[in-house]
């Protein structure tokens, strides 16, 4: 069950984080906020971040835990700066740093392919496209609506409500920490611990939710091939994707395809809106 100390700390994280974020968000109305308010917001948010870090459990070895804390703090702080920067370009760049830190965490968890894939897809392609669009859209100075947050109070409230729900849900299923000296160091052990979340609800062995969580716990990194030798990383991942998660993969593919068709439909010129406007020439070749 939840200890009182944990509960107080968690509430402190939420309250400090929400206040700090609210103070740091760029507001639309009135003049720009004084520097001092930003500073106070940054201090509060930083405090919340440090308190939040006390809930994390780093991997056992010293170097790994150093990287774990560095990447995690960078990811959360980068996320905060993404939403509070006044300049959209800076927001996009902070977002890129969030993606890079997250893939660092993936690497620490042993998911090499996921880490590289995240960097290629998000940092390498999507955020560059963001930058491209922002730069092209802002040739004549920055528009005020791009420099301000929309309804910062309500946004902060709803986001931190969601954060609280997630945080609380994870806190109550968190099992007691290992006694000092007994560290979680193997990947397998860590996977088993994530499975304890499901079992702590006391689900029956044949309950579908339990089955799914058992399946999710299976180690795809170390699948064996026919001759019982471990397969390389990506082969295991591919096998898991195209056997157990085939429908999800197909659905995602279909979604992207539909989006592609939609983009083509939007991009083709339309009939004039008002009578008298010149008719656009139909595309002779695409």
């Amino acid at each position: 069950m939840l200890e009182k100390r944990d509960l107080i700390l968690a509430i402190a994280v939420i309250v400090l984080g929400a206040t700090g974020t609210y103070l740091m968000l760029p507001h639309r109305h009135g003049s720009a906020k004084p520097r001092r308010v930003h500073l106070i917001g940054a201090v509060l948010a930083g405090l919340a971040l440090l308190l939040f870090a006390t809930f994390w459990r780093a991997p056992a070895s010293a170097i790994s835990s150093l990287f774990f804390y560095a990447f995690s703090l960078a990811a959360v702080a980068g996320g905060l700066l993404t939403i509070t920067s006044r300049n959209p370009i800076h927001s996009a760049l902070w977002f890129a740093s969030v993606v890079l830190s997250t893939s660092g965490l993936f690497l620490l968890a042993g998911a090499q392919f996921l880490a590289a894939g995240t960097v290629i897809v998000y940092a390498g392609a999507i955020i560059v496209t963001f930058l491209f669009v922002i730069m092209l859209a802002q040739m004549e100075g920055r528009a005020p609506y791009d420099r301000a947050a929309r309804a910062p109070g309500r946004a902060t409230f709803s986001c931190f409500l969601l954060f609280w729900a997630l945080f609380y849900a994870l806190l109550i299923v968190r099992v007691a920490p290992h006694p000092k000296g007994v560290a979680i160091d193997t990947d397998n052990e860590r996977l088993v611990r994530s499975g304890e979340i499901a079992s702590s609800y006391g689900l029956k062995a044949d309950h579908p939710a339990r089955l799914i969580s058992e399946l999710a716990r299976r180690d795809t990194l170390r699948m064996d091939d026919i001759s019982k030798r471990p397969k390389p990383h990506v082969a295991g991942l591919g096998e898991a994707l195209y056997t157990e998660h085939l429908i999800s993969v197909e659905l995602a593919g279909t979604l992207l395809f539909v989006a592609l068709i939609g983009a083509l439909a939007i991009a083709t010129p339309k009939l004039p809106i008002r009578p008298g406007d010149p008719r656009p020439q139909p595309l002779t070749k695409l």
Partner: protein, 366 residues
Amino acid sequence: MLVVIGILIKILVVVGITQGAVAYMILLERKVAAYSQDRIGPNRCGSNLVLPGGFRLNLPFGLLQPIADGAKMILKEDVIPSYVEKPLYILAPAISIIAAMIGFAVIPFGPVGTQAPSGVNFQIAPGVDIGIVYVFAIGSLAVYGVILGGWASNNKYSFLGGLRSSAQLISYEIPLGMSILGMVLLAGSLDLNTIVNYQDGHGLWLTRWLGLPAWGVFVQPIGCLLFIISAFAETNRLPFDLPEAEQELVGGYHTEYSAMKFGMFFLGEYLHVITVSYLTVILFFGGWDAPFLNQIQSDWFSGLLKALVLLVKVGLMVFFMMWVRWTIPRFRYDQLMDLAWKALIPIALVNLVATAAIVELLRSSH
């Protein structure tokens, strides 16, 4: 601890050698350019050198030119215009060079693992399963240096260069990634070393029948061609050097940069050329494979010989890239995009599907 020190030494050696190589690549580039245009090129530096003690040294080909070039870069005044966005302006060349350097971590410079002489691995980070994907991930970050440099300079020529570059690099990453998948399918691994070992092996029946080695260029000729074309575009080399097209954009994204900041962009570009040449050789030209070398030899002599063979092949590839620069004129922007989206990507897709089908047929016939 010993492992960490070993890795640190390896990193230092690789960084040192590649930086030195870049210096001499610039000399080579100037020489190749000169001979292509029927000039002589730099030939003074190092000739008639009087050393302390009265020794006279007469080095040919302007061999000390790189030192003069480097000194010039470092000693020039570092101008930061007042209208730039300063943090990003300074960050951009740093990103450019870091992205070019850390790609080397998984590239094998010679035999690796059981085939290497005991106690040494010609690779900074051995045992990375996803080798080639890592290189692509790092390569996809290199675009930030260019796009940020162009934007932070607050200059329309730089900005146009940055925009062109971002579109070009994103477009050409797709055929670049798809062109290697054929080799990955054949070798059954993303690990660069496994791919080299595959090329040392038997290969397909066609190459065996013709008596050719199973190098990528023979078993995946289309993939090889696509890879080389896309690699030229990824490194911003002619005929794809639109981001810095001097005749149109003054200097493109690095117009506003001076002294060593400009030098860092330059260094990053040449390091990228080295990385791409290594990848081309490892994926499509057999890596360290030569008629008299195979996987079983693991003594010191053959280990060094393999590294040397690889180095010679990479040198030839670098020379090829410089040669092409003076052979083919620059593309127009729309031609560049058409080439990527309407030619290279469909061909790469067809090649991938065909290779997958053939690999599956051969596997099931065993």
